[in-house]
């Protein structure tokens, strides 16, 4: 039996051939090595993300999320729900807080859920994968499956917004959270602790609707990583990852820059340190490949002889 079990909420971007499908691949590799079992919530639906506010009212948005909660309670009772996407996690936390605080909102939500044959009991907890790592597993335990070090690779920890605000990881400051740097160091990389863009917003969904304004943010985030000598940026958020990686070529084309900074997930760093190959670490999903990580992943680990 696995050491720890969770009800898993993958979110839309993680689906097969979705924009964050490589995130999921690396999370699976990482969790297997940590003996963590993730069971996807059966028939989960989209959380609505932060951007659906114009079209959907408050209750409607909470109902969408509560359906996932109710399904988790029904099929995976007693397990915390874990999300890998910052926006899914944040939306879930907001819904939970709101429904816990308002009995009317709760009653209305259940009235709507009844139409889908479901009932939300307000038992399930919503967690982010990073919380599972930091709080349930801990840095010392995270070291155990390591078979390689990241060899002092210089890594800028880009935390972004929604994993950090308004909830964040318990005990961390909003303006200078340290867990990502600690994680990098735990895996044997060099954390660029003075990277000042670590909590800057990449524009989020507005990268689609306000591309010029968002690309200014992205350019700052990437250029500062270069200034600090980073070999790659690491992030816990799929939207940050996609925005910061994908739009670099667009910025180059429009502004004549030569940006080509790899942007990876924390789970990819861990999958590599745990001995995963490029495919198992989702490195084949990079639009801007990280030469350094590819090299480390390709190294064969000597089999212990004793």
């Amino acid at each position: 039996m696995a050491k720890k079990e969770y009800a898993f909420y993958p979110g839309c971007s993680s689906q097969l051939r979705g924009s964050a499908s490589n995130y999921l691949v690396s999370v699976n590799t990482m969790c297997e090595k940590l003996d963590v079992k993730l069971t996807p919530i059966p028939d989960w639906n989209c959380c609505g993300a932060s951007i659906s506010y114009a079209a959907a009212g408050e209750l409607t948005r909470h109902v969408m999320t509560a359906r996932n909660f109710a399904l988790a309670e029904q099929h995976l009772p007693g397990q915390d729900i874990v999300a890998t996407c910052a926006a899914c996690w944040l939306g879930g936390r907001e819904t939970k807080d709101k429904l816990d605080a308002s009995s009317q909102m709760m009653a209305d939500t259940n009235e709507a859920l009844k139409e889908a044959g479901l009932h939300y009991k307000a038992e399930a907890q919503m967690r982010h994968m990073v919380e599972v790592l930091v709080e349930d597993i801990g840095y010392e335990e995270m070291k155990k499956p390591m078979v390689k070090s990241l060899e002092g690779a210089k890594i800028a920890g880009y935390v972004g917004c929604q994993t950090n605000r308004p909830f964040g990881i318990a005990g961390e400051s909003f303006e200078n959270p340290l867990y990502l740097d600690k994680l990098v160091e735990t895996m044997g990389g060099e954390a660029l602790t003075k990277y000042e863009q670590k909590v800057t917003c990449c524009g989020g969904s507005l990268a689609f609707s306000e591309p010029a304004k968002s690309q200014k943010q992205i350019r700052d985030i990437v250029e500062s990583a270069y200034d600090h000598g980073a070999e790659m940026i690491v992030t816990p958020c799929p939207l940050c990852q996609a925005n910061v990686e994908i739009y670099q070529s667009e910025i180059n084309r429009k502004q004549g820059t030569k940006l080509a900074m790899p942007v990876v997930y924390y789970s990819q760093l861990m999958a590599v340190a745990y001995g995963g190959n490029a495919k198992q670490a989702g490195l084949d999903g990079q639009v801007i490949p990280s030469k350094k990580l590819d090299e480390i992943a390709a190294k064969v680990v000597p089999v212990a002889t004793k």
Binding site: R67, L206, K213, S249
Partner: protein, 210 residues
């Protein structure tokens, strides 16, 4: 759009003397607005700061001053990136992000939001995409966005983003077959019934404040 304008006029008639009261009753988290002490911290927090004609601080002031048209027709709330900088810094703990979203939605509901606002379009397209099958179809979502302003604009936009789409395709992070059949929930019918009910309850509750 007729009934939306009507909605606007009804609201206008009922709350003629107090936009603050209207916001308190009809905008998500609107009852927090009066708690603002005008310290100005949020005004320096927005990601697209220089592009906000009115900062959140100023919007709260304008609401109290009864500047209804200027607030609801403003482009400002649509600049919110949901970065939550303001929320964690506000000394009074106002849920500023939600109020900005709430104001934007209210303006949209009344039919007075600025036309062709790209973030509003994005929000509508995203939501429609997501509720159709219960899950977002990233390819169709992207295409609808490109083509929202018509065929030619769409082709131009798609061409300018072509290298990005190709790179994602090669990295297996975009699926061309999603155009025909994407990921979807099994209980689509249940989801649709559930959402219909939610909207019904929501308009009932909003109606109570008409």
């Amino acid at each position: 759009m007729g009934n939306m304008t009507e909605l606007n006029e009804q609201a206008l008639a009922k709350y003629r003397n107090s936009f603050l009261h209207e916001v308190e009753e009809r905008v998500e988290e609107g009852d927090w607005v009066k708690m603002c002490m005008q310290c100005g911290v949020c005004a320096g927090s927005c990601t697209f700061g220089p592009h906000w004609e009115h900062s959140p601080q100023k919007i709260f002031m304008m609401i109290r001053a009864g500047k209804r048209e200027e607030v609801l027709r403003s482009d400002s709330m649509w600049m919110c990136t949901s970065c939550y900088n303001c929320v964690v810094r506000c000394p009074r703990k106002l849920p500023i992000t939600q109020i900005m979203h709430g104001l934007a939605q209210y303006a949209h509901r009344l039919g007075v939001a600025p036309k062709m606002q790209p973030t509003r379009d994005l929000s509508l397209i995203f939501w429609n995409n997501c509720i159709k099958t219960g899950r977002v179809n990233e390819l169709r979502f992207t295409l609808s966005l490109y083509f929202k302003d018509g065929l030619m604009a769409g082709i131009r936009q798609a061409l300018s983003m072509q290298s990005i789409a190709l790179a994602l395709l090669m990295a297996k992070r975009l699926n061309p077959l999603e155009f025909f059949k994407g990921h979807e929930c099994k209980d689509k019918a249940g989801i649709h019934r559930m959402l219909k009910k939610a909207q019904e309850i929501e308009s009932r509750r909003q109606g109570a404040h008409k």
